[in-house]
């Protein structure tokens, strides 16, 4: 499947989710739901690669994105004084999306996937909380937590539908994509993930954290590129699509660094 077709399918899935999660008041005050496009790409990856893909898979994939959207929405609630109407409705938007995810899977019905995703949500919430805890922290531990936070839901989806062979690629791809997005947010002071006290042994300035993340992105992107080249799982056409995506991200990253 070529780049244009994959983009079209990602957009279609995104529109389906927007339509399911639409609520007039929430939209007005909390804004459009935040959907990670890179997550949609990886949810659809088995389909892009010619794997079995039914209407059931499509709805299930939309549910994974819905629950991730719910969790991401709650990351937008301020740590203190979330007293504005917009903030109050941000809390409720996350809860509403969470309810819609469950209602959609219940009507499918796919109760086993509810179970698998509940495990993911509990794990993600624990790890997000752990970022605030005064544990012994190292940058690599932080990175490990971050990787689970961004990839666990898709990992469970893959496992449930026997797409597990895509997991290593997805984890790496999600890590790079999400790190880059968080980095851009961090540079604009709008990051939602906790970057404070990333390490307990050496306090890092904002600039040092940014430099470290840039470095990780470079490293992981090289590793990801090698994985794609070596993959016997992916079609040649899909390999080209994935390589051009990572190349585009690295180019943008270089521009960001220079800028």
């Amino acid at each position: 499947m070529n780049a244009a077709k994959t983009e079209l399918l990602v957009t279609e899935l995104k529109d389906e989710i927007y339509s399911k999660l639409h609520h007039r008041t929430l939209q007005e005050y909390a804004g459009q739901p935040i959907i990670w496009e890179d997550q949609l790409f990886y949810l659809l990856l088995p389909n892009f690669n010619g794997g079995q893909w039914t209407a059931h898979h499509q709805v299930a994939a939309s549910c994974v994105a819905m629950i991730q959207t719910a969790l991401t929405t709650h990351d937008l609630v301020m740590e203190h004084n979330a007293t504005t109407k917009a903030q109050q409705l941000t809390v409720l938007a996350g809860d509403y999306y969470s309810g819609m995810y469950y209602a959609t899977l219940a009507s499918l019905p796919n109760i086993q996937l509810v179970q698998a995703l509940s495990t993911a949500v509990a794990d993600i919430s624990e790890r997000k909380t752990a970022l605030y805890e005064p544990n012994d922290k190292t940058f690599s531990k932080w990175l490990e937590q971050f990787e689970v936070i961004v990839s666990k839901a898709v990992e469970q989806f893959y496992h449930h539908f026997n797409f597990g062979s895509y997991t290593p690629l997805m984890k790496k791809g999600m890590l790079i994509g999400r790190l880059f997005d968080e980095l851009k947010a961090l540079e604009n002071n709008s990051s939602t993930i906790r970057f404070d006290d990333i390490t307990s042994d050496e306090p890092l300035s904002n600039e040092q954290v940014i430099a470290k993340i840039h470095h990780v992105i470079q490293q992981e992107a090289t590793c990801y590129t090698t994985q794609i080249h070596a993959s016997s799982l992916l079609s040649d056409e899909l390999k080209i699509v994935m390589l051009s995506r990572v190349e585009a991200l690295i180019s943008e990253q270089q521009l960001t660094r220079e800028g």
Binding site: H23, T25, L26, A70, L71, H74, D75, V77, M78, E79, H80, N81, A82, T83, K85, Q88, L89, V91, L92, G94, D95, Y96, S98, G99, M100, Y102, A103, L105, A106, S107, P109, I111, Q112, V114, Q115, S118, T119, A120, V121, A122, I124, S125, E126, K128, T129, A130, Y132, E133, R194
Partner: protein, 324 residues
């Protein structure tokens, strides 16, 4: 006194409630010590466990097996707990039942993660029930509760709202979860459909009566009994049934308008409470609660003969007549 009464009412279910308590502890156990601390707080704060009790009682109209029924009773209480954790962020509340809230103990973000964690654990438990209908009921309930909260924010500080607006709100905010507790208990136990429907209606009426009483108590109970300042609902801009009735009194109306547009002084708060307590608003709201209670009791009458009917009546009466 009220706690004693409740304990007596639950005495027939003591073994099962102990099982539910233990399951709640297990469900809330986390690898994060912040989440464990937050959960411990929630568990210690207690609560009436009304929803699990209704699940258990409703299940007695079918094949009663606590090992199966607990898979519905535990998630319903967890969902209620998670909603409270998130509500405290929305209401910026530092105290609940006299104890610091999760958001006060940590911060809003941790409260969000804690609520999400508890929701997840609730659904995890619920997946032990394979009946799709049970999941449809619970998921619709979760959406409805949320829509109720959204409406509550939309309706905030609006003094010219109708009683119908108020009912629309409390139906979703409270009655739906109690109704679902009864319905899900019956579904999990495989009770006949007509009995399930009747139990669901019973829960709905009890829930409406319960919330009206809750809204009355916000004006009539003491700060100590409430664990927060009396009149808090109005100070947060929530115009409840007693306030809607009191707004009809031209002497009280300015006090209410002043309160919802706040902040008000302690003296003004006392003045407001005194005026509302003295007005007919409390009695009128109480009468309406009684009407819902009567409807609930009528539903019980029409249920098939079962020793548990007396417990349903007793608990409904307790909830509809409680003093705080």
């Amino acid at each position: 006194m009220e706690k004693m009464k409740l304990k007596m009412l639950y005495s027939g279910l003591k073994t099962e409630i102990d099982i539910i308590e233990r399951e709640l502890e297990t469900a809330l156990n986390s690898s994060s010590h912040f989440l464990n601390e937050a959960s411990l707080h929630l568990l210690k704060a207690g609560g009436k466990r009304i929803r699990p009790v209704f699940v258990l009682l409703a299940a007695k109209f079918g094949q009663y097996d606590i090992q199966r029924i607990k898979n519905v009773a535990v998630p319903l209480e967890l969902i209620h707990m998670a909603s409270l954790v998130h509500d405290d962020v929305i209401d910026d509340s530092d105290l609940r039942r006299g104890r610091p809230t999760v958001k006060a103990q940590f911060n809003n973000r941790i409260a969000m993660y804690d609520g999400d964690f508890i929701f997840a654990r609730a659904l995890d438990y619920m997946t032990n029930i394979e009946t799709p209908q049970a999941h449809k009921v619970l998921s619709n309930t979760m959406v409805e509760i949320c829509v109720g909260e959204i409406i509550q924010i939309e309706d905030k500080k609006i003094v010219d709202q109708t009683i119908r607006d108020y009912f629309r709100r409390i139906k979703r905010k409270t009655a739906v979860l109690i109704s679902s507790s009864c319905e899900l208990g019956a579904i999990a136990a495989g009770a006949p459909e007509d009995v399930t429907r009747r139990l669901s209606r019973f829960g709905y009426y009890v829930g409406m009566s319960f919330q009206i009483i809750d809204d009355i108590l916000d004006f009539t109970a003491t700060d100590k009994q409430l664990g927060k300042p009396a009149g808090s609902d109005l100070m947060q801009g929530n115009v409840t049934l007693p306030a809607l009735y009191a707004l009809e009194d031209p002497m009280i109306r300015p006090l209410i308008e002043q309160t919802i547009n706040g902040p008000i002084t302690e003296e003004q708060r006392q003045q407001l409470l005194k005026a509302i307590r003295k007005s007919s608003a409390i009695k009128r709201a109480g009468d309406l609660s009684d009407q819902y209670l009567a409807k609930a009791l009528k539903e019980v009458e029409r249920l098939p003969d079962n020793p548990v009917k007396k417990s349903l009546v007793d608990i409904a009466l307790f909830m509809g007549k409680r003093k705080f």
